[in-house]
Symmetry: C2
């Protein structure tokens, strides 16, 4: 039986929710990562991905400036990096350097890939839509990469500010 | 180490991916569900959710007609219903009746909730964006509901056409 509740109470039942990291080059030349829970695929042909960035976030102006970005799927072992990228601002910090994460150059766009991630997708910005307190960016995937090691699974938000892996039942 | 691969090969590493079901009333008065993997939240205030519907799908015209829809989070026990809603078309079939799923009336919109789901969100359509072979619909959540039974977790796509639950590691 469904019972009416406050939005926040019902939405607290959404977990586990997959985590992605978007990385774009800022005007100073720094590659800036942000951890996101609100991402989805939105087209097969052409391959398009959508990400939601809050109006207050530094990544908003970075992505509008760069007009291209990498979407990376972190592994379950990357919780500490993901937490840092999601809670610190690139206005004040070189987050990739602070995390010590291994990176490698993207192949098509001016960007970096997270070497230890499950997969990385190079995207060119094709459209954006204002959505309340966020902006929804749509990027076309122009190159894809995956980890040679196929054993590691994705990282998820588990609720109560916890991040970790999941196993199918 | 990341290695360049075809898009489909890298994207095959995305699983588990959470599943949602969108339900809207068609022009004949039938409540039509569709199972979706491509959904996300896209604003806190106001609360907005985004769903991607393929250009060929019956739900595209249904949602454009109804301009409101329910987003339901099925439980891990609802794999068979979700599979039916994702593979059959409401043009030919009353999918809710065919599945035998228990429903109850929405509170604010003209819609139905899935009684056995984890949670249901009543949404009013606020915008849409063409995204390749899909249309991205943004709905504002105007009412939320959750299952009195809080023990059941969400349903996920697990890859290779399998659906099931997950457990945090």
């Amino acid at each position: 039986m469904q019972v009416p509740v406050a939005y926040e109470q019902a939405m607290a039942r959404k977990y586990p929710e997959q985590v992605a990291i978007a990385i774009a080059r800022d005007a100073q030349g720094k590659y800036n990562p942000i951890t996101l829970g609100w991402t989805m695929i939105t087209s097969h042909e052409p391959p398009l991905m959508a990400i939601s960035i809050g109006h207050t976030r530094y990544s908003l102006e970075v992505i509008r400036h760069a007009r291209e970005f990498v979407v990376s799927f972190p592994t379950s072992a990357m919780a500490s990096e993901a937490l840092l990228y999601g809670t610190k601002s690139g206005r004040d910090l070189d987050k990739l350097a602070a995390s010590g994460a291994k990176t490698q150059s993207a192949g098509v766009i001016d960007g970096v890939l997270l070497t230890d991630a499950v997969a990385n997708f190079e995207c060119k910005l094709v459209s954006e839509l204002e959505t309340g307190d966020h902006v929804l960016f749509v990027g076309q995937v122009v190159a894809a990469h995956m980890n040679e090691d196929r054993t590691a699974g994705r990282l998820y938000s588990l609720g109560d500010d916890r991040l970790g892996g999941v196993t199918p039942d």
